[in-house]
Assembly symmetry: C2
Homo-oligomer: 138 residues x 2
């Protein structure tokens, strides 16, 4: 048996630029995703604001370390877009990413591309060895 994690790689367009420049809105997004997927933050999220571009609010980068790996988001208000990663080292069912984004950052024409990537945390040989040694993955 491989031990696999999964990562949702999300690129979204047609978001509300004001929400994309609003750290509080993005905190809400993280809170919504962690609740939805039953994830456990192990530290406060870390945020960085980029300078405004003209009259458009600056983009934001955020990350939250989880017991199950991490969440990251990068926003581009000047393009109404964001890039989100949700990496979970435990199996979770797929979730409706657009439905999670729409009430928090959605604009009038939200479009979302979601790629789910399998992450290979441990080979079958490693799992068998760890089990013999009484160890197990997180």
């Amino acid at each position: 048996m491989h031990v696999r994690g999964c990562e949702w790689v999300v690129d979204a367009h047609g978001c509300d630029p004001e929400r994309l420049a609003d750290v509080d809105a993005l905190r809400t997004l993280f809170a919504h995703i962690t609740e939805l997927l039953d994830l456990r933050p192990v530290a406060d999220a870390q945020w960085h604001r980029f300078p405004a571009i003209g009259h458009t609010g600056g983009g934001v980068t955020g990350v939250c370390l989880l017991a199950e790996s991490h969440l990251t988001v990068h926003t581009y208000p000047e393009h109404g877009s964001l890039c989100l990663n949700v990496f979970c080292c435990r199996v979770r069912p797929d979730w409706d990413v657009a439905a999670a984004l729409q009430p928090v950052v959605g604009g009038t024409g939200l479009s979302v591309r979601v790629r789910r990537i399998e992450r290979d945390l441990a080979s079958p040989a490693s799992v068998a060895l760890a089990e013999r040694r009484g160890l197990h993955a997180r």
Copy 2:
């Protein structure tokens, strides 16, 4: 023209378990990658240690926010493995991931799987509009 970023999604096996439990070694890995790819951290990296499992040191999660997006790493000493993400919103040439990992965390049988993912930061229509408005992406 689309504005694209790229992300290297790396799963590595056959790493040295002691190095995987050593935050200083992982700091060195981040420093090496940021120098190699000419990346600019915007904050100190954030680290979280998981409890030891038996006699094996606990895994580590780390993240570094960059002007160009982020680095993350998750290590699993019990399996000799790690998962690394390097997300860069500016184009960079591919790099030799195994050569970067080997001196810092490599064990006797390092094997590395690298997937390069294009991230779609802005649609052609958005880029044209932003240019007309005198805005531009980071």
